[in-house]
């Protein structure tokens, strides 16, 4: 039993040793799902934030100091995330960016708030996160009720009369499904099907067969892109031509890869603009740098939004001329107006939500490209 103990001691030494270095840099935390189901998002987040930090440091950092990014893995799971948050708060970070999943973010909110560290989440769209009156919480992502409103509006505009709604029982997808369901009923559009699939499976033929017998004009799937890809592919194999609309979690180039181009063609989805459609000069320049550095495009808009979180954090520190969490948060709430972010101007309202309309309707064309629709 001596060896594991020795390893334990050695490892503790390693960890504490790495904390001690670089004392006079300004530290910004990044909490991202580097492992687990959302690892691809997390890896992109890390690349984006690190590149941005490098660029900012080349420009002289912030408040005359260099920026150091401290990254922790939240594993895409609330319990790991709360430990990651505890760990970050002990490392002298000034602000923290992240994370992706809503329930994961939720598990860390109180920890950062009690420590007085501003947190800027990038992929967490659940409504309740900003309804708790936390002073240090912000997000660069839009809220689910906003998306639900747009979804119902688009279904009405595209003139669909009978809608089937399918979610995947995650808190995000269920929330969006419920929101849209209620709004559609108000508009007098019939919802003929409402149920949830089990994410992580391969075969959804049983569900598609049942969906088909409900005879909808359109299917709204509010879950994530891996399942959406499988659904589209299996729908085509069945020879069922009904159109599908996805929520913003289906916005990922891998969707087309998984479904196959022919099956993905005609798929609608709602989303903030995809990375390639970001037309701000900041975004264009940054994406070019990103591709040069990593030879790929970011996993999704959510990863890009972590870049906006980082930029907002830097702007907050600069604007408040301080590394005090309370002052930075106050600056972000009140004084940061239309700051040029990668995904468009950034302003936060008093709840910490991002202001302005971000959702667009996209359609997949015959080449598997995402084309923004004008409506």
């Amino acid at each position: 039993m001596k060896k594991p103990l020795l390893a334990l001691v050695a490892a503790i030494g390693l960890v504490t040793g790495s904390i001690a270095q670089a004392a006079d840099a300004i530290k910004i935390g990044l909490m991202a799902p580097l492992t687990g189901s959302w690892a691809s998002e997390g890896q992109s987040m890390k690349k984006i934030v690190e590149l941005l930090a490098k660029q900012q440091n080349a420009k002289g950092g912030v408040l005359g100091k260099q920026i150091e990014v401290v990254t922790e893995d939240d594993g895409g799971d609330p319990r790991t995330a709360s430990l990651a948050a505890q760990r970050l708060t002990t490392q002298g970070i000034v602000a923290v960016v992240g994370t992706y999943g809503s329930s994961v973010t939720e598990a860390t909110q109180a920890i950062y708030d009690e420590a007085g560290i501003p947190q800027i989440a990038n992929g967490s769209t659940a409504i309740r996160l900003t309804e708790k009156g936390l002073k240090h919480f912000f997000r660069t992502a839009p809220r689910d009720d906003e998306q639900g409103r747009i979804a119902a509006q688009m279904i009405e505009k595209l003139d669909f009369k009978q809608v089937a709604i399918l979610h995947d029982s995650t808190s995000y997808a269920k929330g969006l499904a419920d929101e849209t369901n209620a709004l559609l009923k108000k508009k007098g559009i019939k919802v003929v099907f409402f149920d949830a699939l089990t994410p992580g499976e391969r075969d959804y033929n049983a569900i598609l067969t049942k969906l088909k017998s409900a005879n909808p004009d359109v299917v709204l799937f509010t879950g994530y892109y891996p399942e959406a890809g499988l659904l589209l592919r299996q729908k085509r194999a069945m020879g069922w031509p009904v159109p599908f609309i996805g929520g913003d979690a289906t916005n990922n180039p891998d969707l087309v890869k998984s479904a196959g181009q022919e099956a993905a063609e005609g798929f609608y989805f709602l989303s903030p603009p995809v990375p390639q459609d970001l037309d701000t000069p900041e975004a264009q320049a940054f994406l070019a740098d990103y591709q040069k550095q990593y030879e790929e495009v970011p996993a999704s808009i959510w990863a890009v939004l972590s870049g906006d979180g980082f930029r907002a954090a830097v702007a907050g520190i600069e604007g408040a001329k301080s590394t005090n969490g309370g002052k930075i948060a106050e600056y972000l709430h009140k004084s940061l107006k239309d700051y040029p972010g990668l995904s468009g101007p950034i302003s936060f309202d008093e709840k910490g939500d991002r202001e302005g309309e971000v959702y667009r309707l996209y359609k997949v064309n015959a080449d598997g490209k995402f084309v923004m629709q004008k409506l």
Partner: protein
């Protein structure tokens, strides 16, 4: 009625895959009384190896669709079988005389290890099989539209299962496997090399699991490094349902589980599908405590 038949074919396609994987659990259990929790990950390796071989060797271009896929299946089965043997050597053989549950924990550790190796090699994003190599047309079976691939999947799994069944029942080696499953000590006294039987079981089970992984990749296109966990769990359930250790039981258990899931989703609730399947399992075990075809074992006195 048409919907019912359609759901039946849906269930059979899923169940065929469950059954193939379940065979690996049941064979290993039969001989070693060990639940090989890393078996699901061997299935995933089949899918990933298949993808790599398919894209790097361009077999279907060179040999045509049918021959190409056949060669691919054989290569994948061979490679995964080797992996299975390595797994047995590294993780299970040293624990053969230890308490049974120690091997379970070793298997779980191996499963985590295998999964994360895949993640580090291929990345965390899911991988996709090229979609232009397979026929996507639907077949008209007595007025029922069934995709060709689904028919092929069911056929392929049935062929493999029947072959295995005949091998186990009719050949000398098969008899040796059955003997070792019933009583290892007695089999050894009869001159059966039990170590070779174990080796064989760890070749056959993973080979079938690997083939199932390849089939999942070809059919559904999308594969990821954690999928073995989901399929493995289902297949293990199927093996128990049929009576673990019993080879025809695993086949029937797999098909039945697939059909129960499809019917549960169709006529009760999609969201509760897995819960329904487990309820059916528990009810069957209350009535038949050793599964559908499991032998009734008298407790030793």
């Amino acid at each position: 009625m048409e919907e019912f038949l359609q759901q039946l074919t849906n269930g059979l396609a899923v169940g065929g895959i469950y059954a193939l994987i379940a065979l690996g659990y049941t064979m290993v259990y039969g001989v070693l009384k060990l639940i090989n929790f890393a078996h699901g990950d061997l299935f995933t390796y089949g899918a990933y190896l298949g993808l790599t071989l398919l894209t790097s060797l361009a077999l279907t271009d060179r040999l045509g669709f049918f021959m190409g896929v056949l060669v691919l299946v054989l290569m994948v089965m061979g490679l995964v079988a080797v992996l299975g043997v390595i797994l047995e050597r590294a993780a299970y053989r040293p624990l053969r005389e230890s308490p049974r549950l120690s091997a379970v924990v070793s298997a779980l550790g191996a499963s985590i290890f295998l999964q994360n190796t895949l993640m580090l090699i291929y990345g965390a994003r899911f991988q996709v099989y090229p979609d232009n190599i397979l026929p996507v047309t639907a077949l008209d079976l007595f007025g029922l539209q069934v995709p060709v691939m689904r028919v092929l999947i069911v056929l392929a799994s049935v062929v493999m299962m029947v072959t295995l069944y005949l091998f186990i029942q009719k050949t000398k080696i098969g008899t040796a496997i059955r003997a070792a499953a019933i009583d290892q000590g007695a089999a050894r006294l009869m001159g059966i090399d039990v170590n070779r039987v174990i080796l064989l079981v760890f070749l056959l089970g993973p080979a079938l699991g690997g083939a199932a992984g390849l089939m999942v990749g070809l059919y559904y296109g999308q594969i990821n490094f954690t999928m073995g966990w989901v399929y493995g769990m289902k297949a293990f359930t199927a093996a128990i349902l049929g009576g673990i250790g019993n080879i025809p039981g695993a086949m029937i258990g797999g098909l039945l589980l697939g059909v129960v899931e499809a019917m549960g989703a169709a006529y009760l609730s999609i969201a509760w599908k897995d819960a329904i399947a487990f309820c059916v399992l528990i009810l069957i075990l209350i009535v038949r405590p050793t599964g559908l075809l499991g032998e009734r074992v008298a407790d030793k006195i």
